[in-house]
């Protein structure tokens, strides 16, 4: 990286984040302002598949929270995915993925953790959300901080490390070989947003979880005691 790029790196990161946001907004407008068909064409099919995945995860976390949780998870996923894919664009400034800079990933992890706390405050009340930070173990506050660190460091290490490797390889062998490294770099670019979203939804499920709901589910799914005693469990026969 040249001196000038190094000097203006924070501004480039902000510019690239804004670019990703604008692209996503335009895509959203284009995707929703077309005639939706009963038999979906390929684009609508992909969009519905992605939406359904997030809706299913949100429903597993909290049955009433689909309208809040699914957009939160989906926007995190799409934002990180498109930020990572900027590395594949071969244009001088734009090709620096914002997630290869620690400030960018820390921002995303903070958004995820604060969003988790706010959503749990929405479902369990502010007192319930604050109680979750200290109860049953006061160290849960420390866990929150370390979770934020590990979320941000994981994303930064994967994407930033890949970007660094590409830069070093380009210096050593400018033609041919960087293409292979770039192609391999597309794998973490797809896996990491998935991991980020999965872990966020796990934290969310932990924070929103209520004992009463779990007890009801346990009663519904577990077989009655007499059936177990006679060797006719739920999976019996």
């Amino acid at each position: 990286m040249s001196e000038i790029v190094q000097h203006y790196l924070p501004y480039i990161i902000i510019f690239n984040f804004t670019l990703v946001a604008v692209v996503l907004i335009v895509l959203g407008i284009v995707a929703t302002h077309r005639k939706l068909e009963e038999v979906p064409d390929p684009i609508q099919n992909v969009a519905e598949f992605a939406l359904e995945w997030f809706v299913r995860r949100a429903r597993a976390i909290h049955p009433d929270g689909v309208t809040v949780i699914a957009p939160f998870l989906a926007s995190l996923f799409l934002f990180i995915l498109f930020s990572n894919l900027l590395a594949a664009v071969s244009f001088p400034i734009i090709r620096i993925p914002p997630t290869s800079y620690y400030g960018g990933t820390l921002t995303l992890a903070l958004i995820a953790m604060f969003g988790t706390t706010f959503i749990s405050a929405k479902f369990m009340g502010a007192r319930g959300a604050i109680k979750h930070l200290f109860w049953p173990n006061p160290l849960q506050l420390v866990t929150k901080v370390s979770d934020t660190l590990s979320l941000s460091l994981r994303l930064f290490g994967n994407i930033g490390g890949e970007f660094l490797v590409v830069l070093l390889v380009v210096k050593a062998a400018p033609y041919g070989i960087p293409l292979v490294i770039h192609t391999l770099g597309l794998i973490p670019a797809f896996i990491q947003p998935l991991v980020f979203t999965l872990l966020t939804s796990n934290f969310l499920a932990e924070a929103v979880h209520t004992d009463k709901k779990k007890a009801e589910v346990d009663i519904q799914t577990s077989p009655p005691f007499s059936a177990v005693a006679e060797g006719k469990g739920a999976h019996g026969s």
Partner: protein, 75 residues
């Protein structure tokens, strides 16, 4: 002398960690794929669990990578 240490320390930080993580990931993927072939109907859940477990292992390597980068930046 100092330069030698500054080259050696990041290398010796990241290489053993990567080897250890490779063994851990081998165990995770081996077990997960075995479970998937045994019971294909739970394959999606196993795949999700495998990805999360691998991410947790990977995080340890990345802590070491960050330490190595911090040391390397001092050259």
């Amino acid at each position: 002398m100092k330069e030698i240490f500054l080259v050696l320390v990041p290398t010796l930080t990241i290489v053993p960690t990567a080897i250890a993580a490779a063994f851990a990931m081998r165990k995770i993927s081996y077990t997960a794929i075995e479970g998937m072939t045994r019971q294909p109907e739970v394959a999606p859940q196993l795949f999700t669990a495998m990805i999360v477990a691998m991410a947790l292992v990977e995080a340890l390597v990345i802590y070491c990578l960050v330490i190595a980068l911090m040391v390397a930046a001092k050259i």
